[in-house]
Symmetry: C2
Subunit: 466 residues, 2 copies
C-alpha cells in the first residue's frame, strides 16, 4: 500500500528488511501464532488449536510460537493451568492489576443492584463525567461525554461526529496507525495490513520516527506531510474531516518523544477546517506516568478525545469527550444509544478504576518504576548490539531490534526470537512497528520495581543466548 507515494518529500532511509520470516506477519499481525505449524506443541495444545479452528473464525490470532494457556490472573501475574506464573508486561487493560479487588467489588455490587441503560435518570454517570472532566487541563475539560463499549466504537463515533461537523470524509493517520476494527475505523487503520482497504479519502503520513529523523525536525516534517496530504485529498475532490493519532504512536513502533510534534500538526489541520482527535485508548489514564492524558504531553488541545482499554480495568467500557460546539449539530440530528455503553455497571467499573488510579498514586508508581525500566533497558542496549533504540515514557516502552546499528535496519527475526524467548521464561511482551521489530513492553501500571528487575534479568538472559 503506497497511497502517499506521490506527495512524499524527503523519503525516509530504507528500513524495510528482507529477512522477514514467511509467517511472521501472518494476517499482518506481529507475534501471531501460525495454527498450521503445531507439531512442536504438546497433544493438549494441539487439540485446543484444532478445536479452536473448528469453533471460532480464522480471523482470531493467538500470541507466540507456543501459545500460552491462561486460567488465572492476579496483580501483574497470569497463571497457566499448571500453576506457573507469567509476568504480564503486556496487558495495559488491567491498568490497576488483574482481579483488582476494588474493581471486582464495585462491579459485583453494581451488578447485584442495577444494570441498566442511559434512558433512565441515574446520577452516577453524571458524577463520573464530572470527575473525568477535571482530569483535563485544557478547554476540553468543558467537553461532553459519550459512552461506548470499545475503543473501536469510540473512534467510529468520534469520526462520525467529525464527518457530520465538517461535512467532509477525509482522514489523516500515521502510516501504521491502528484505530479500530469497525468498518469505518478499519478504513483508517493501515496497520491491519494491505488487505484491509483504506477509505478513498484516507491518507497516511510517516510516524514521527525520532530514531531515524533528527528529533528537532520531527514536528515540522510531520506538519509538512500533513499539509501535503490535505492538499492531496483536496486534489482528489475530498476534504478533511479529521487527523487522528495515538500520541504514543503504538503500532508505528512506540515513539514517545519528542513531544513537540502534535501541536504544529493540529495547527495545520485546523487551518484546513479539520478536527484534531486525540486517541487516548493506549496513551490515556496515566500510561505516561507524568500525565493522565498523552496528548497533554504534546501541549495540544483536541476537539475530541477518545478513551478505551484501561478505562474500566477490563470491564467493556470506552467513550469520548467532545467540545460541545462540535457535537451540538450531531446531537440534534442524531440520537445515540448504546445498549451497554454508559450503563450502570460500566460507570461503576470506570469510576472505581479512576478512584484507584488517584487514591493509590498509580501514576507515581508508573513514573518511578518506568524510570527503573528505562535505565535497565538502556543498560542492556549498551551491552547488546542488536538493540538499536530504547524509547518510552511511564510504563510504555519500545525497544527496536536492528541488524546493524549504523544502518538501523530492522530485524524482525531477532525481535520475535526475543519475544518468544521471554515467553519461554514466562515473561509476556509482544512486538510492534511496521516490521514487528520493536519489542512492545506495556505492563499494568501497578508493575513494581521487583517486576522490573525480573523482566530485565530475563531479557538479559534471552539476549545473551541469541
Amino acid at each position: 500500500m503506497n497511497v502517499t507515494s506521490t506527495l512524499q518529500p524527503a523519503a525516509l532511509p530504507e528500513i524495510v528488511d528482507t529477512n522477514r520470516p514467511e509467517d511472521a506477519l501472518r494476517g499482518d499481525m506481529p507475534n501471531g501464532f501460525n495454527p498450521s505449524a503445531i507439531s512442536h506443541l504438546d497433544a493438549t495444545a494441539q487439540r485446543h488449536i484444532a478445536r479452536r479452528l473448528q469453533l471460532i473464525s480464522p480471523s482470531y490470532r493467538l500470541f507466540y510460537a507456543e501459545p500460552v494457556k491462561i486460567v488465572r490472573g492476579e496483580k501483574v501475574y497470569l497463571y497457566d493451568d499448571q500453576g506457573n506464573d507469567y509476568l504480564d508486561a503486556y496487558n495495559n487493560v488491567v491498568c490497576v492489576g488483574h482481579a483488582n479487588p476494588r474493581i471486582v467489588d464495585a462491579i459485583t455490587r453494581q451488578f447485584s443492584t442495577l444494570c441498566t441503560h442511559t434512558r433512565y435518570m441515574q446520577e452516577p454517570i453524571l458524577d463520573y463525567a464530572e470527575a473525568l472532566r477535571t482530569t483535563f487541563h485544557t478547554s476540553i475539560r468543558e467537553g461532553q461525554m459519550m459512552f461506548t463499549c470499545t475503543g473501536s466504537e469510540a473512534n467510529d463515533l468520534a469520526m462520525r461526529i467529525a464527518m457530520h461537523y465538517t461535512g467532509k470524509t477525509g482522514v489523516i493517520v500515521t502510516s501504521e496507525a491502528y484505530h479500530g476494527n469497525s468498518h469505518l475505523t478499519s478504513s483508517f487503520s493501515p496497520s491491519l495490513g494491505s488487505k484491509a482497504l483504506l477509505g478513498p479519502y484516507v491518507r497516511t503520513v510517516p510516524a514521527p520516527d525520532a530514531y531515524r529523523i533528527p528529533p528537532s525536525e520531527v514536528g515540522r516534517r510531520m506538519a509538512d506531510q500533513v499539509a501535503l496530504q490535505i492538499e492531496d485529498i483536496r486534489r482528489h475532490g475530498g476534504g478533511l474531516a479529521a487527523f487522528i493519532a495515538d500520541s504514543f504512536f503504538s503500532s508505528d513502533g512506540v515513539f514517545a518523544h519528542p513531544t513537540d510534534v502534535l501541536a504544529p500538526v493540529a495547527e495545520v489541520v485546523r487551518r484546513a477546517g479539520g478536527l484534531f482527535i486525540a486517541d487516548e485508548v493506549q496513551s490515556g489514564f496515566g500510561r505516561s506516568g507524568t500525565h493522565m492524558w498523552g496528548h497533554e504531553r504534546h501541549g495540544v488541545v483536541p476537539d475530541i478525545v477518545t478513551l478505551g482499554k484501561p478505562m474500566g480495568n477490563g470491564y467493556p467500557v470506552a467513550g469520548l469527550v467532545v467540545r460541545p460546539e462540535v457535537v451540538a449539530g450531531f446531537g440534534e440530528d442524531m440520537r445515540y444509544f448504546n445498549t451497554f455503553g454508559g450503563n450502570s455497571v460500566a460507570i461503576a467499573a470506570t469510576q472505581a478504576t479512576l478512584d484507584v488510579l488517584r487514591d493509590e498514586n498509580v501514576l507515581d508508581n508508573a513514573q518511578r518504576v518506568g524510570a527503573i525500566m528505562l535505565e535497565g533497558l538502556n543498560a542492556l542496549a549498551r551491552k547488546y548490539e542488536c538493540i538499536g533504540d530504547v524509547r518510552g515514557a511511564g510504563l510504555y516502552f519500545g525497544v527496536e531490534i536492528v541488524r546493524d546499528r549504523a544502518k538501523k535496519n530492522t530485524d524482525i527475526a531477532t525481535a520475535l526470537k526475543i519475544v518468544n524467548g521471554l515467553r519461554q521464561r514466562r515473561v509476556l511482551i509482544s512486538a510492534t512497528g511496521p516490521d514487528a521489530s520493536v519489542l512492545k513492553v506495556r505492563p499494568p501500571l501497578v508493575f513494581g520495581a521487583n517486576d522490573a528487575d525480573r523482566l530485565l534479568t530475563e531479557l538479559d538472559t534471552v539476549l545473551a543466548a541469541l
Copy 2:
C-alpha cells in the same frame, strides 16, 4: 427519504398521520423526552436534566415525558430512589431478570479469577461456542463464532464479512430497520431518521405489515420488492452484499406473523449472489418462546446470524455465527481482535445466561405467560376502539393504536399518552413503528402471570381514562 420510490409496486394504503405532536419524534426517537420542556418536573429532576445537558452529549435521549429515576432492579422490577417499584415490561437485555444471582455470581467469580482476551488459549470460549452451536437446527450449527461487545459491532462485522465475501456493498433492509449505531450499521438503519445518511447502495423495502397487507401475500410481496431493489442497485452500478433483517421487525412495528416471509426473500437474495443475515439481537435467545432463534420460525437458513442484547443478561457481549466458507477468506486476509469481545468474563456471563435459559425452562415461561398476555391484549382490543391490532409471539408484543379502525390510520398522540399513562402507573413500556404508534411490550423472559395481570389491569385503566 424516499430512496425506493421509483421502483415500488402496489403502494401501501396511506397510513401517515398528521396529528403527530411536534416533539413526539424529536431526533426521530419514539417516546423520547424533550429536555427543553421541563417545567412540569420537580426541582430535583430539573437539576438532573440541566446537569445532564451540560455533562453528556445532546445525542442522549431519556424515556417518557416524565423521565424515570432508577436506582435498583430485581427480577422484573425496577425501583426509584423513593423505593417505588416499576414493572419492567420493556427491557429485553435482562432476559433472565434484573440482578439474576446466578449471572451475578458467574461474573463475580470470573472477574476475581481472570479477565483477559482471546490471544491466550482459554477453554471456556470454545465450550461456549460448542454449546451455542447446538441450539441451532440447520446447517448454521456448523458455523464459526466471533465475539464483539455490542450488537452494533456484530452487525458491522457481519456486513464487513459479507462485503469481503461478495466484493459488493449493497444492503437491503426494511424501511424502518435498526441495525446499529456504528458508521456502517447506521448507514443501513433508516429508523435513525432522515438526518442519518443511508449508504449509496442501501435500499429499503416495506416491512411485512400483515395488518395492512393480506397475510398470505406478505411473503411474495416482500420477495418481489427485494428483487426490484436488487435490480435498482445493479442499475446504479452496485451489487448486493446482503439482506439483513430482524425476524420480529421490531422498529418497523413488531410483525411476528406471518412466518413464511423470509424464506422466499432469502431465495431471491441468494440468486443475486447476496448473503442472508439474520439479526437476532432482538429475536434471539428465546424471545419467541417457541424457538431459540427468530429466523427458525421462518424456516430460513442464514449465512450469518448476529447476536446481542440478552446474550449476557446485561454484560456487554455480542457476536455472530457465520458459515465457515463465508468467513474463510476474510479470516485469511483480516485479523479480528476485539479487546473485550469474547474475553473471560464475557464468556462466563453468556455461558451462565445460556445455562439459566435452559435449566430454568425460561422459554416455556415466555410461551405460557406470552399466551396470557396475548389473550389479555386481545380482550382489551375488543373493549377499546383505539386498538387497531395486537400482534406478537412469546414475550414480544406490538399493539397498534389507530384513530379509525377502518382506515387503520396511526395515532401517535394516543400511543404516547398510553405509554406515559402507564409510566405514571409505574408500568414501563415504549412505542415503536414508523409513526411511533405501536405500543412496544418486551419484558424480561421471566415475566410471570401475576406481572401480566398487573400490566393488563393498568393498561385497562389507562385506556379507560383516555
